[in-house]
Symmetry: C2
DNA sequence: ATACTTTTGTCGAGCATCATTCAAAAGTAG
DNA sequence: CTACTTTTGAATGATGCTCGACAAAAGTAT
């Protein structure tokens, strides 16, 4: 059925629901509060709040947070989310390397690992390494695997998020419809959430840097070009989970340039990393083979390279202007490896977007570089895992098993 | 905070919640069910379901629905949503005319009115007429105003849906930030929901024609060009409620053609109704002034007109290909007045979209003409009102006032 | 030290829900 | 017509959550 407004269901299960989640959702932000405050915010009786808080404390999810100043009477006692109660894993598996972090429930990094690997070696090999890395990180942070609450994984291709299976991923041979959560759960029996790498990068940027933003687009500019769309505080995955595929959109300047997808004039064939390297080679007679070469040249102040990357920004901006009109976000974050070559890419993007989008859409629009940078992916994967762990349903079921 | 998955809240209020909504949500689709079925579906005890059903019957929202076939014992008695219990108004206010319908809760039309009017006469005049029309429709259908449960209104411009106020609408002078629900509620004290006309057209097409679709785009092609986006079963309104503004996206073939927005090369300046009329005039030396003239010519089989509208389809398709890659819908519906000129527009759109979009995104994509046609707007407005009335919150509060 | 304020913990009452039972109703199969 | 099946309705006690009230705790102001 159609959901016009954000839906709240009155009851989830027929089981006796202690309903500890309602109180807990207020504490999710990490801010300490008193019982009295919670009672007023929820509208529940003080006694009810007290019993809920007790349940949450026995679960370890909430902990006392020092005392507070008295306002003339007995000083209230503060409670807050206990971030150390559980830990989660965030993993960002790229084409040629992987990043994994262990964080607590506030997103604070406890340990991390980075390794070169080849995603095309197939899921068994790659996930085998991931499982080993998770074990290492847990030991490193002196946490037992029973404290691990969830695992979030980002993959470089389309993913059916509900099942955690990659769907026809172009650069991940052997991964098609592979049951990623199934394999990981053989080693760690916790919820495993899988999503597209661009989607989790959008999550990573949103949480932490744009806490009150509900509509954000993350643009990854690297070998490929893709977008992660958060609209109305929800990740938009589309009907087949391929939403945000900007790489093969036609751009005016594209002409008949052939693209690896078989079409011509694609954005990626014009502004993707390999395309920029080729364009520079044509200009200077160089022999660049990777995006990294372009980035290094731009950083060193090479005028041709700056020219090329700024033009790439304009081409991306052309497509982005359409996206901005269509989605109407309030923040657009530019990330990916090519975004690390200074402000030139961003300048080109801004130039076109602000010129080509409607005033109403750009009035409050901010186009900013990624803050998390290389870590946007892992941070987002961790955020995805955390928000699953702290979701009302999870808290509800957890509190059922508490005495 | 960020919502990764569809959120279910355990409890909405601290008041004693009879929780009749849970049972009711299963009956929303209009399908009749037995008490036993409801008990199994909800997991509630049979006795509980019985009492819930009784509450809903005294409210009139649910009614007996004949008997069912026996499976060897006493035949079960069926219950179903009683669509006649309440009525709602759907209104589609355009630039030069208005459509209003009165429907029951199943969306069945009970009465309708159509009138020429000028939206630029301002909100008092227009809404005054609307209020009068609602009264007439109620009398016509022999319904009292106490049976009216909600009013849905579509307006031709950006609307802040939460407050029901138009925001900087280009073609609605005097309406900026006007409190539309406030004025209407002075006459009819029921919830008044206001939204952009394209958004409600998307709703209108989805409900009824695409019941199980979660990702749909509606494209209105008329004087302007706009899109209504439903993604994950939710209407996407964007940060300022201006999402879906496709009219002023740049198209490759646009060149330096000036647009009324001040920019050049906009889609609307190339494929909007006035642009098509102008293009035809230039070709044939005619004196067309309106979209209707173009439509008539196309219908009469004029080859120049067909050529022009097919090219418009290609230009729209160019933009749509980007949208399809970005949003990944499973259905794209083409509506608006120019869509009624036969299949030529659609053919042009299909031609480009299927060529320019990724195979993965177009694999299950259907591009279809609007079924509701001129009525998509009012139908959608009615749907918007109905789904508010039948929402869990509304049912919950309604059942509180029942004995 | 005393009065006042504010928060906290405890306790019983109220209420909705649940599982169960029993009897009646309304069919079908023989 | 009788036996069997299945659903329904009413009644029951048990359970568990929520509320409100009251008393104790822990400070501050005089």
């Amino acid at each position: 059925m159609l959901k016009i407004e954000s839906e709240k269901q009155a009851r989830t299960s027929a089981l006796p629901a202690p309903g500890a989640s309602e109180v807990f959702q207020l504490l999710r932000d990490g801010q300490p509060r008193t019982r009295a405050e919670l009672a007023q915010l929820t509208g529940l009786a003080r006694s009810t709040v007290a019993s809920r808080v007790e349940t949450l404390m026995t679960l370890g999810l909430v902990a006392p947070y020092g005392g507070a100043v008295s306002t003339g009477g007995r000083p209230p006692s503060l409670f807050a989310l206990n971030p150390g109660a559980r830990v989660v894993i965030g993993a960002d598996l790229g084409a040629t390397h992987a990043l994994v972090i262990l964080t607590d429930l506030s997103g604070t990094e406890l340990a991390s690992a980075r390794q070169s690997m080849t995603i095309s070696d197939g899921p068994e090999t790659v996930l085998g390494w991931l499982v080993a890395a998770i074990g290492t990180l847990l030991r490193e942070a002196k946490r037992s695997s029973s404290e691990l609450a969830a695992i979030g994984i980002g993959l470089p291709g389309p993913v059916e998020h509900e099942t955690g299976r990659p769907i026809n991923p172009p650069i991940m041979p052997g991964w098609d419809r592979f049951d990623v959560p199934g394999l990981v759960q053989r080693s760690f029996n916790v919820p495993v959430l899988v999503d597209n790498d661009v989607n989790i990068m959008a999550l990573g940027e949103l949480s932490g840097n744009w806490p009150d933003t509900t509509d954000l687009m993350f643009i990854k500019v690297a070998t490929g070009i893709g977008a992660g769309i958060i609209s109305g505080s929800m990740l938009q995955r589309g009907a087949q989970g391929t939403a945000g595929d900007l790489g093969h959109v036609r751009v005016p300047r594209g002409g008949e340039i052939p693209c690896r997808c078989g079409n011509t004039g694609c954005l990626e064939a014009l502004a993707g990393g390999p395309a920029l390297a080729a364009a520079l080679n044509a200009l200077t007679g160089g022999e660049l083979t990777s995006s990294q070469g372009v980035i290094d040249l731009v950083r060193s102040g090479d005028r041709d390279a700056i020219q090329v990357i700024r033009q790439a920004g304009r081409d991306i901006g052309d497509v982005l202007a359409t996206c901005v009109n269509l989605i109407n976000p309030s923040v657009v974050v530019i990330g990916g490896s090519l975004a690390q070559a200074g402000e030139h890419l961003l300048a080109g993007i801004r130039e076109v977007v602000y010129r080509r989008s409607l005033p109403l859409a750009t009035e409050h629009l901010r186009i900013v570089p990624s803050v998390a940078g290389q870590n946007a992916g892992v941070r987002g994967a961790s955020v995805m895992a955390i928000s699953h762990v702290l979701s009302p349903e999870s808290i509800e079921t957890a509190s059922l098993s508490a005495p």
